[in-house]
């Protein structure tokens, strides 16, 4: 069983949502990647989304754009990130790691070459923001051959037909973008999110995580009552931005711990599913 499936199975048994922090790999520098992963896991991460920086992050708000710029200035590249994950796997063979980024760095490496190297490094899933399901034929095939889960997005504007399209291809989990706009935008309407999750679950048994706009532990708790995973991105990246480079991992961990408390508090509120 994959690390992602094993994690969701374990959490389902204790009725807790997965806590999924997002950080940009190489922010503040590539040397900080293993320490960052270590700190996030120590502070309650169940799955880690590791952003691959790109020069043109079209779907991201200012916070994650700046993180990408810092990581690129520090010399971060895709091959380097795969190496860092491989290194980290020597000390942690359990926590699922999902790479999240844009198509071009992966296409430049070559889709099949990337899939092979990602597998070898211990990557469990990959979400390419600008690979929608209709452009993902070769992509899904390459990941499938390597045994890596293709993660897809759904949004408040996704039609029933598009939900079905994603449901046919998605493995690992589906990432529901809880609001219109870019990462780090305003607050979300939890009731709207809950209604949409019910629609998605009507079409697939793949776990559904929720992200974009979860900026405080209270919102995380509200979402964790019904979602399979809660993704925290910009709020953690803000903390990294404010920290001295050598304090970044510790501060990211500290803020993640407050979200973990929110997710834990939701266990009692959660109906058995």
């Amino acid at each position: 069983m994959s690390r992602i499936a094993a994690t969701f199975d374990r959490l389902r048994a204790v009725r807790r949502a997965a806590l999924v922090p997002f950080v940009t790999a190489g922010d503040p520098s590539p040397a900080h990647i293993p320490g960052m992963l270590r700190s996030l896991v120590a502070n309650g991460a169940d799955v880690i989304e590791l952003g691959v920086p790109f020069s043109d992050p079209m779907a991201d708000g200012p916070t994650i754009q700046r993180a990408s710029e810092r990581a690129l200035r520090a010399g971060t590249g895709l091959a380097m990130i795969l190496d860092a994950v491989k290194q980290y796997r020597r000390e942690d063979d359990n926590t699922p790691i999902v790479l999240m980024g844009y198509a071009n760095p992966i296409e430049h490496m070559g889709v099949a070459a990337f899939a092979g190297r990602a597998k070898e490094s211990g990557v469990d899933g990959v979400l390419v923001v600008d690979y929608p399901p209709e452009e993902s034929g070769a992509w899904v095939e390459a990941l499938g051959a390597a045994g890596i889960d293709p993660i897809f997005l759904l949004s408040p504007t996704s039609s029933q037909a598009r939900i079905d399209l994603v449901a046919r291809l998605a493995k690992g989990y589906i990432y529901y973008v809880s609001l219109k706009g870019v990462t780090g935008a305003a607050n979300i309407d939890t009731a709207d999110v809950e209604r949409m999750l019910a629609r998605i679950r009507g079409r697939t048994s793949v776990p559904v995580g929720v992200g974009f706009g979860i900026r405080d532990p209270e919102t995380a708790r509200a979402i964790a009552r019904f979602a399979d995973a809660v993704v925290i991105g910009s709020r953690i990246v803000e903390e990294i931005e404010r920290a001295e480079p050598d304090q970044a991992a510790q501060r990211a961990g500290a803020v993640l711990a407050t979200f973990r408390a929110g997710v834990d508090a939701a266990v009692g509120d959660r109906a058995s599913r």
Partner: protein, 411 residues
């Protein structure tokens, strides 16, 4: 002008029907955007398909192009330039004579009419040199729509006059400080605005790039340029040209004049890219000549990128060609061999600029000067009975400061 159908073709036309239903030109094009934009693109595809098939829409567009833009633009036989070159006859398609001074308005007018049909009261645009921003602000003023233009801070500083023009036209210009602070970053920022405000906002993309249906739609609206030439060349020169030349940044003026000629195998199509300081220096914007395929801004196409697949900053004396991607249909035309692509350096473009000013009394845009420069290389190698048609995509009034500076003067 009297429009009539040309009577004879050197060879019979070859069918061309790109893109396919999902917006692909062979391996290029497509819809490489996040899920958050898919519904908006679907809405746009449906709306544009309806407009394309609606005679009332086409009639309204034709009326506006005639009475507001000033179409058709003439084709002009540049006799003095041709004589000086001593070879092929050079003809110029005078897009510089359009309202706002370039071909860009053909597209913004079309998209503004689509936006009106869709009931969107707010339009946004990205701009590099400011020409597309001005053309978008112009049609927004014409129809009383709110207009927001994204422009990199580097370009805001370099193109102060166009920033002021947009403001005069009632647009809000938003300086973009992310990334390299140029056109590609302005496009990223406009996409972010669109995804956030999609309910009331129409995004007027300025070139034949972006996700489907933009490359097709922008091409269709600019194809009026080539359609007019198909009629004008036989009337003026007695036949179709041997070569059609156009500068290529994103590639909208080139697609506009190329597209109607694609089915005419006797007509060679040549795109002229910005060679900047020379391809060997790496300081250029010749994407098709020196780039490689990848995915950016919603489509797969040739890109300027580094060994990690990060997008490179480009250089050209002409801000309108300073873009690290290119429309996906050009990528297809290159690979299929139907069009060829060459590059012209900053210095060659400047020399052509001065030559056209001096021999014909026409001040071309620096973008268009690249196409003129290649005509100056090509024409002397051809006989006097050969015909080279150059798309003179814009006028050079906006480039006075740049040209003066390159000549060591300040205005």
């Amino acid at each position: 002008m009297q429009m009539r159908v040309p009577v004879a073709e050197p060879r019979s036309p070859v069918a061309y029907d790109m893109p396919d239903a999902t917006g692909h030109f062979g391996p290029y094009g497509g819809t490489f955007v996040a899920e958050t934009l898919q519904a908006a693109l679907e809405e746009l595809r449906d709306a544009y398909a309806a407009c394309r098939a609606d005679p009332a829409f086409q009639a309204e567009l034709a009326y506006e192009l005639e009475h507001y833009v000033g179409r058709p633009s003439p084709v002009y036989h540049a006799k003095r330039l041709s004589d000086e070159l001593g070879g092929a006859q050079v003809y110029l398609k005078r897009e510089d004579l359009n309202h706002t001074g370039a071909h860009k308005v053909n597209n913004t007018m079309g998209q503004a009419l689509v936006a009106r049909r869709m009931g969107k009261p707010r339009v946004i645009a990205e701009t590099g040199a400011g020409q597309h921003g001005v053309a978008a602000a112009t049609v927004a003023a014409r129809y009383g729509m709110e207009c927001v233009v994204y422009m990199g801070t580097e370009d805001v500083a370099r193109q102060a006059q166009n920033v002021y023009r947009m403001k005069l036209l009632g647009a809000t210009v938003v300086p973009v400080t992310s990334g390299s602070r140029t056109l590609k970053d302005a496009l990223n920022e406009a996409m972010r605005d669109w995804v956030t405000n999609v309910a009331n906002t129409f995004y007027i993309i300025g070139t034949v790039a972006g996700p489907h249906p933009y490359p097709m739609m922008v091409r269709d609206f600019n194809a009026i340029v080539g359609k007019e030439c198909l009629v004008q060349m036989p009337a003026l020169a007695g036949r179709q040209p041997d070569y059609v030349l156009a500068c290529v940044g994103g590639g909208s003026n080139a697609m506009g004049i190329f597209h109607p000629y694609i089915p005419h195998p006797g007509v060679k199509l040549v795109g002229v890219e910005a060679g900047g300081l020379g391809i060997a220096t790496g300081r250029h914007a010749a994407t098709l000549s020196a780039g490689s395929p990848g995915v950016l801004h919603g489509n797969r196409t040739y890109l300027m990128q580094d060994a990690d697949g990060q997008i490179l900053e480009t250089h050209s004396i002409s801000a309108g060609l300073d873009y690290p991607g290119v429309g996906p249909e050009h990528a297809w035309l290159k690979d299929s061999g139907r069009a060829s692509y060459v590059s012209v350096t900053d210095d060659e473009a400047l020399a052509a600029f001065h030559t056209l000013c001096r021999t014909e009394g026409i001040i071309p845009a620096l973008e268009s000067s690249h196409a003129v420069a290649h005509a100056m290389r090509l024409a002397p190698t051809l006989g006097r009975d050969r015909i080279v048609l150059v798309n003179l995509s814009g006028r050079g009034d906006k480039d006075m400061h740049t040209v003066a500076k390159a000549s060591g003067l300040s205005l």
